[in-house]
Symmetry: C2
Subunit: 191 residues, 2 copies
């Protein structure tokens, strides 16, 4: 997605060989029009997939997720990273390890929001080791629902997440694919 | 906002005299079209206020916040509830107590995203005791920026948050105002 790639080139900061900071438009400050355009792209990619629900994980997945859900005409569901006191229902729960935060968290979704009939598009801001996406996919499968695809804003293609997801048979659509962050430079995989 | 009030009447669940659960459209599952309509209403309320940035707090403020920011044509900034490892810059920090979660958290915003020139619209999903809104307002004022208003999706008018904010001179716009949750019933304040 050209506009996203330009934005990463202009505003992304390489913090190390593994970490790209994009807090000017995705992770802390958010560019709403870019999120809308991401939603438009995801709608065109998944228009024929019969999506009934978009699933993401708090917090940085919510903005692109809600824009995709709006344009697909379906609800957004965001997985929570720990139980909140007002979520008393039965929950689907998966443990997810974050390499960035170096901690394991419990990811939860209320059972009442996923059923066997659901066809779920998973959306997340980053794909690195695939832990969050896999956790969400396991939750969808716990519900007996189908994962129609996993849509990623920024994929760090030099980390193993994409291959793990492809090996499990998931369709993966990443809007920007980064080949390398070495020497402080962002190198993209051109499609 | 009539459509929001109808949605609360149809789907809200009163868990106790103080707690309203709206996880079917706002706090867990999200209705994107309703969020868009909330953004439209906030644009009309604050169109003349010279808003330069919308500020909210993760996670449930992000969806209404991004829709308001998009329609106002400004960035969204979401405060984080604790430091993340990739946020290394200088931070504005305030402590906020959550009565719902019964814990204190540290709310942070990167200094680089707020300046003295900013005119900030604060958006949040709920207003109860006002702790989160006050924490965000203090962060805006730490930056020397102006709070042009505090926009709330659902106000629990029987709790002290609104009065605290008004006493401090803030403009408060709540799209649904709840007078009472007693006896398992949602009673609204009609404007």
């Amino acid at each position: 997605m050209e506009r996203l790639i330009q934005k990463i080139k202009q505003e992304g900061t390489v913090l190390s060989d593994g970490v790209l900071k994009v807090d000017t438009f995705l992770n802390h400050q958010i560019d709403p029009q870019l999120m809308w355009d991401i939603g438009t792209t995801l709608k065109s990619l998944f228009a024929e997939s019969g999506v009934t629900k978009v699933l993401t994980i708090e917090s940085s997945g919510i903005a692109p997720g809600v824009m995709a859900a709006m344009q697909l005409g379906v609800p957004l569901l965001f997985a929570r990273k720990r139980k909140s006191l007002t979520m008393r229902d039965d929950l689907y729960t998966e443990r997810v390890y974050s390499f960035t935060k170096q901690e394991e968290s419990e990811v939860t979704v209320s059972r009442k929001f996923l059923s066997e009939q659901d066809r779920v598009l998973i959306v997340d801001d980053f794909l690195a080791n695939g832990e969050a996406a896999l956790g969400m996919a396991r939750i969808v499968e716990q519900a007996g629902a189908s994962v129609v695809g996993i849509a990623i804003v920024i994929e760090k293609s030099f980390q193993p997440g994409r291959d793990k997801l492809l090996e499990l048979g998931y369709r993966v659509e990443s809007l920007a694919r980064i080949a390398s962050l070495q020497d402080g430079q962002v190198t993209f995989i051109e499609d």
